[in-house]
Structure formats: C-alpha cells, structure tokens
C-alpha cells in the first residue's frame, strides 16, 4: 500500500539511530554541522548514494545486457540495455547524435547534446523505442511517460573523447596522466527524476521500484550506465576507424574512467526545499562518525589501515587537477595536514581511542581535512555503520503544532534559530542577492537586489530572513496578547504559516535548518552544491566559479562485468590512477 504523504523511503525513528549515543556528548552540535562553510567541506563517504548503489548491485547480483547497439561508424545512433535487478526489469536507452563543438554547453539552457538517455521500468518494445527516439533527444521540450524514471543528457569531453578514440584506434592505451586531469569521456549536464515532464512520480518509484527506492538511486544508476556506454561508444568508433589496429581500453584504465558532471545553482534550492531530508542525511553521517569515535576499537592494525588510507587520499589529491586557485590551495592544505597527521599517529602512545583524535582535529587541521578523516574513520568500521545504509530517506511533512503557546514558539526561535536572529538585515550587504527562476527553462539564478530586476519574484529560500521577520511579529503579538497560542497568531498573520511550520518541525530534529543567510553578499552557493554532491559521492570537486562546479562520478567503481564479485566493491573511495 502506498503511504499518503511519503516523499522518500521511510527510515527508522531518530531514536533508533541514536541508540547507544548521547546527543549532547557524542554528536557534533548543529551550529557546527549545519554551518554553510562546514557543509562546503563535506566529503563523500561510505553511505554516499553511489557507494550504496554499487554495494546493492553487487549484493543483489544485477545483470545488465546490451540488447541493441546500433551506432554508425562515427558513433551516432542508439543503444538499449536491459537490467535485471532481483525480480525487477529496467531498461536504459541512450541516443547519440552529432553535435557541433560550438553548441556544446554544460548549462541547463542548452538545447542540444551529444548524448541523451533515459532509464525506464520494464523492457522497451519496438513501438516504444520509436517514441523514445523522438522524445528523449528533446529533453525538457517533450512530454515523457509514467514508465520513465530518469531523463538525462551528456556531452563529450572535448579534451578526452577524441584523444581516447585516436589512441585506441592506433592500438595504444591512452596516457593515464591524461585521465588524472580529466577522469571521464563524457559529462552529464542534467539528470532529471521525481516526476518531471510526466515521468514517474517519486511516490510511484518508491511503490513500484524496490531497486531504486533510496534517494537518488535511479539517478545515480543512470550515470553509472552512461559511464559504461561512453567507453563502449569510444571503443566502437575506434574499431570502425581502424578495424585492424584498434584495441579496447585496458580494464584498469577503464575502471578509472568515471563520468563527469557539471552542477549549477539548480541543485541549491533543493536543499532548502527539503530540510527534513537534508537533516536526515547529516544525521546519518554524524551518527556514523559518533558511533565509530565512541565504539571503534583502536588497534595497531586499524591504525595502520588508517595511515594507508590517508596515504591514498594524499595521492588522490595530488592526482586532482583544478584550475580554481582557492580549491587548489585547499587541496594543498589537505596534503600538508594529512602528512602531518600521519606522523602524529605513528606510534603515538596517547592514541588509545578515537576521542583523542576527534579532540585534536579541529585544533590543528582545516575543515576539509577533518571531514576527510571522518570519512576514513567511517570506512574503517563497516560493521558499526552499515546498518544505516537504508536510512537516508525520510517522510517529509512539515507539521504545524497550532496548540503550542506562542511564548514557547518565541523561545524555540531564540534557541534553535539564534543564528538567524544575530543577522542584521538592515545592512544592505546582508540582503545583497536574491534567488529567482529565469524564464529560460526556469533556470535558478542569482541576482543583485539593488541592481537587477526580478526581486519581486524572489524564490523563498531566505529562511534566515523569514525566521527573523516571524520572530519580530511573534514578539509584537505577544506584547498585545501575552497568553496567545500559535493558532491565534496565525489567524492574524496567515502569511507566517509556512515559516512557523518549518520552525516547529525542524526544531524537533537533531540537525535542523542549514545555518546560512542565502542573501548575504559573501554567501558561497557552491557550498550548497558541494554538500549535496558529497552525499551523491562525487570526487575531484572542481569549481568553475562560485556558482557551478565540475566533478567526477563513479571513478574507480567496479565495471559492469565486475558486479558478480566483490573484488572492487568498496575500495574506490578517493580513487587512484592505475600504475604504469
């Protein structure tokens, strides 16, 4: 039976996750975890969605076969794959078309792409394929159907695709150093799910698709299949070019080929619109950290393993190429920190438990390093954390408690939203930017409030400002009616209903709202993107401005033909280039 108001797979009650933990003593406080700068330092970890998906595919022995691979000599045409995931059947359909270099654009507003694709429920019949051939390449401009879970598109990497094809055609493997710079052949520029353009609603996916009932599981799988196809396509073109000399990509190199991703502001409003879901994701990560720190036994073997992991991260970071000066500086600091920490841990007699390390991390290391070390600690103790793998979903329902005394609401704001009350919105720089939807494909954009038109159509993402305005009205109402309750406040101030619901709901959670003024002149939207992308599990974070970022997905993950064993199952975090 379908649950009525569910928007994500129900996880257990927070109390179950917190079993054995003291919230105040063991968990990092909300002021630290939900701070926007901290969120901008989050790192992929064991429960990132790509990691969960790969373990699920291996555990359930998913079978993927290519039914049709109809590409011409230049790689244009289509391919259809069938996926058997336990008792469920899905199809991945991809269309490859010619694209002029000058039309290759990572923005949402692009109209043409090298590749367009879809993930569908059930097998694809011939007449359906014809409809897909017409609709999928049009992307947002077409209407999709209820059997489609994901719609996406991708562009070739100008730097890598032709180079790899030429190398393979001439019978030699591409230089691995080139993949250190760009770890993919193709880059996704949008991945749509959740019922957009007539596709299956998220509630229907949860109801009908057990294999994709976790958050973003279907979207991640679509990218995984794209990674596979991108190499197949390159190999096909190489074979057509030089049938006698062409070779396939070496499997170690192939495993190192991920899929690129370009993410812009469109991802940011999601974090504000789904506060309960985001708070749950953070809770799972923080509970995992707390359990490991509190219950993980420090043994010589574990210590050696952690040092080896840090060595791997150092190498991974050295292999990461970014143009952005700030990001390059951050990466350099991570290397310095981890080298320093490796020395500190070596034969240190004081290290009897991880509390010792937890205490020293913020004293001596940058935020990126701290989050990396926590990701590694989680990796050390799968037995302590893997039970939470299916707990990243939550039923979203902001619930009003109208009977509560208004004075109690005031106190709640003062306690849980003191960070927003501290902001002086009378200073112009605190309201410098506004978020809005452009008429061009409804692309979310940032505008300067005092310079650009459109502030009257502002997106409601300024939670800090809304909370403070609400607080002022509550105080004013209480002066007139000291014994009032929430319902009578809302009868007079009905425009406050939405923010009061949010305050009352989020204040019940361990981790509440993201603590940031999204209108501030100094605000970095890219931190929001990074927070979400870390839960996706991306690596090689490569900011192109403060508004958009490139990154790499599934680099180092098992290949399709390796899903039948756990040989490469969990070793692909912070992936390294193959040697040789």
């Amino acid at each position: 039976m379908i649950r009525m108001n569910s928007q994500a797979a129900p996880g257990p009650a927070t109390a179950e996750l917190l079993d054995g933990l003291d919230i105040n003593a063991d968990l990092r406080p909300a002021a630290e975890v939900m701070d926007l700068n901290r969120l901008g330092s989050l790192q992929p970890f064991r429960h990132s969605f790509m990691r969960i998906l790969v373990r699920q595919m291996v555990r359930d022995q998913w079978q993927v076969r290519c039914n049709q691979f109809e590409l011409d000599d230049r790689g244009y045409g289509f391919a259809v794959y069938t996926i058997e995931a336990k008792a469920e059947i899905y199809s991945f359909v991809v269309f490859a078309a010619f694209l002029q270099d000058e039309n290759r654009n990572d923005r949402v507003i692009a109209e043409q792409w090298d590749l367009t694709m879809a993930l569908l429920r059930g097998p694809v019949k011939d007449n359906q394929l014809q409809r897909l051939r017409e609709a999928v390449p049009l992307q947002e401009a077409a209407r999709m159907t209820k059997d489609m879970l994901v719609l996406s598109r991708a562009n070739r990497s100008k730097r890598m695709f032709d180079y790899v094809v030429d190398s393979l055609a001439s019978g030699v493997q591409p230089e691995i150093n080139r993949f250190k710079e760009v770890g993919y052949l193709c880059r996704t520029t949008a991945v749509y799910g959740s019922g957009k353009f007539g596709m299956a609603d998220w509630g229907a996916v949860q109801h009908q698709c057990q294999s994709f009932a976790g958050p973003f599981a279907a979207e991640m799988f679509c990218c995984f299949m794209l990674r596979h196809f991108s190499v197949e396509q390159a190999q096909h073109i190489a074979r057509c070019k030089a049938p006698t000399t062409a070779v396939n990509l070496d499997s170690d190199i192939r495993r190192y080929v991920g899929i690129g991703n370009a993410t812009g502001l469109g991802m940011a409003p999601f974090l504000i619109k789904h506060p309960q879901l985001i708070a749950r994701w953070l809770l799972v990560r923080e509970v995992a950290i707390a359990r490991v720190v509190k219950m993980g036994e420090v043994t010589p073997d574990r210590l050696l393993e952690l040092q080896a992991m840090m060595k791997k991260v150092i190498q991974h970071t050295r292999e990461t190429t970014v143009e952005d000066a700030k990001q390059a500086e951050r990466n350099s600091q991570v290397i310095v920190d981890l080298e320093n920490l490796t020395e500190l841990l070596r034969g240190n007699p004081a290290l009897e438990d991880w509390q010792w390390l937890k205490k020293r991390l913020p004293e001596q290391y940058c935020q990126d390093t701290i989050e990396i070390v926590y990701s590694l600690l989680i990796e050390l103790y799968p037995d302590l954390v893997d039970f939470m793998e299916n707990d990243l979903g939550v039923e979203e329902n902001l619930q009003l408690r109208p009977e509560i005394a208004l004075d109690e609401l005031k106190q709640t704001i003062e306690t849980d939203y003191n960070w927003s009350l501290a902001i002086d919105f009378n200073q112009p720089e605190r309201q410098h930017v506004f978020w809005y939807r452009s008429e061009e494909k409804m692309e979310p954009r940032l505008g300067e409030r005092y310079r650009e038109a459109g502030a009257d159509k502002e997106l409601p993402v300024q939670i800090a400002m809304a909370v403070k305005a609400c607080y002022e009205r509550v105080c004013s109402h209480l002066i007139r009616y000291p014994n009032s309750d929430v319902i009578h406040f809302l009868l007079e101030h009905s425009d406050q209903t939405s923010i009061v619901k949010r305050i009352q709901t989020m204040s019940q959670l361990v981790y509440g709202d993201i603590q940031a003024n999204l209108a501030d002149q100094q605000m970095q939207p890219i931190h929001l993107l990074r927070a979400k992308l870390s839960f996706f599990g991306v690596s090689k974070f490569d900011p192109k401005s403060r508004l958009w970022v490139r990154n790499t997905m599934f680099q180092g993950a098992p290949l399709l033909n390796e899903l039948d064993s756990d040989r490469h199952l969990d070793e692909w975090y912070f992936p390294l280039a193959p040697e040789g």
Binding site: M1, R3, K146, G195, R437, K457, E492, D495
Partner: protein
C-alpha cells in the same frame, strides 16, 4: 495530458504565486487541489471554475466572528477555500483538544470540496474529523467528508445526501445541529476519539437524508494510488492556463541574468 503529482504540485504552487498568494497559501493551495483530484473528488474541475471568478484574486484576511473553547465562526469573505480556510482546520484541531468535539464554521466560503486534504492532515495527526456543507440549486444536498485515523493511513469517505422539506435556507435544520447560518457555509468538526466523532455525526444527520452518492475509503485510496502510479489527467486548456499563470513568476532573461547562474 497526464502529469505526475510532483509536477502538478510544483506548477500549481507557481501559478498560485503568480495569482498573488503568499508562500503559506500557495503551498497549501497546491496540495488541496492536487490531492482532491488524486482522491477522486475532482479537484481540478473545481480549480477550473475557481479560476474564472474573483475568489482567487482577492486577498483580504479572514475574520474570526466569534469563538469559545469548543467552537469558532470565521467569515470567509467570499474567498475560495484555497484562501479562506488557511488556519481553519488547525483551529478545529485546537478546539478538539479541549472538548470532545471541536467545531469551526466558515461562512461565505467558496469551493468547499477543497477542504478535503486539510482533513487528511488532521487524520495524519490521529484526529477524527468531518466537514459538511449544503449545496445544490435549492441547497438541498448535504455533502459530508469524513476522515478517521487508520492503522497506516487516514481513512476518508465522501457522501452526498438529499434532504427534502426539512430545512429552510438560512435556518437551522429541524431537529439537528447542522446549521445554515449563511450561504456557502462550511462546518469542520474534529475529535480525538473516533467513537465520539461517529456518535456526533449520527446525531447531526437529518433523519430524512437519502444517501445518493458515496465514495468509501477503498474507492478513494484506489483513486489515489492510480493517480500516483499512472499520473493525473489534466485538461490541456487548464494546463496551459496554469503555465501562463506560473510564467508570471519567471524573470525575463538577459545577458546579465545569464551570468547569474554560470561563468
């Protein structure tokens, strides 16, 4: 055309915002319409009618006319349910916390069927609730929506009764408590105990009421599941109308604005 729940809610939010609704109202209204459609109550047809008249364009505050510890009367100002119900269901919830059955009457209220999802929200709080109103050319049809808490989901049912000869428009129904103190009145009842609510509803129903139509929980849940899985049918003209209303909230593009999302 078929659209998904998520798609319909998002478009409605934007369309209502384009009509001038504030955030609390447009989020609420989008759900009231979408879920009334999904449960098989024809929410989109009601919306199409609402879009023709002025009831969605006016935004004056509702007024509490009278209130005691177990009941309240609100003047809906001839607004649509999408605007004038605002806190009415929550007020009914508060009333039932301090009395066996809480009652809120909203006078001059348009499109009363759209109250339904508010009752579901109460059901999700484990409260039994009901809404009733008189309709028809002679105001001789009594519409009753009931929602009782269920083990997994709230259990709704919708009934329409024909009542002959026992009531005079603008008066109380003889021998029972369902009152018509004004035209287009909506009454919302709530109770913490399902038994208390059932007993109260039995007492309310006019003795000569003939049941002429009913949708039970099974029918309504089936409609809901079908809508979720197969999509929601929307008239093309209505969809276009909503898209044009939503466009009011989009900012025209320019070279400057393009730089607000990229390089």
């Amino acid at each position: 055309m078929k659209v998904s729940r998520n798609e319909l809610i998002e478009l409605l939010k934007l369309a209502f915002e384009g009509l001038g609704f504030d955030q609390g109202d447009y989020e609420n209204a989008a759900k009231l319409v979408t879920y009334a459609e999904m449960w098989g109550l024809g929410g989109l047809e009601v919306l199409a009618r609402a879009l023709v008249g002025p009831s969605l364009r006016q935004h004056q505050p509702v007024q509490v006319l009278q209130e005691d510890h177990h009941s309240a009367v609100i003047d809906g100002q001839d607004l649509s349910s999408l605007l004038c119900l605002r806190s009415a269901a929550d007020l009914a919830y508060v009333k039932c916390l301090s009395s066996p059955v809480g009652k809120v009457m909203i006078t001059r209220c348009q499109h009363r069927l759209l109250v339904f999802q508010l009752l579901i929200s109460l059901g999700l709080r484990w409260v039994a609730c009901s809404a009733s109103w008189w309709a028809g050319p002679e105001d001789d049809f009594l519409h009753v929506l009931n929602v009782f808490p269920g083990e997994r989901n709230p259990l709704p049912e919708y009934s329409i009764y024909r009542v002959k000869g026992e009531k005079v428009k603008g008066d109380k129904v003889k021998g029972n408590k369902i009152g018509l103190t004004s035209t287009r009145q909506l009454d919302i009842y709530s109770a913490q105990s399902s038994q208390a609510m059932s007993a109260y509803l039995l007492e309310l129903l006019p003795p000569s009421a003939d049941l002429i139509k009913t949708l039970n929980s099974g029918d309504m849940l089936a409609n809901y599941e079908t809508s979720l899985v197969d999509g929601i049918g929307v008239d093309d003209a209505l969809w276009s109308k909503l898209v044009s209303l939503a466009a009011e909230m989009l900012v025209p593009s320019s070279d400057q604005s393009r730089s607000g999302a990229g390089d």
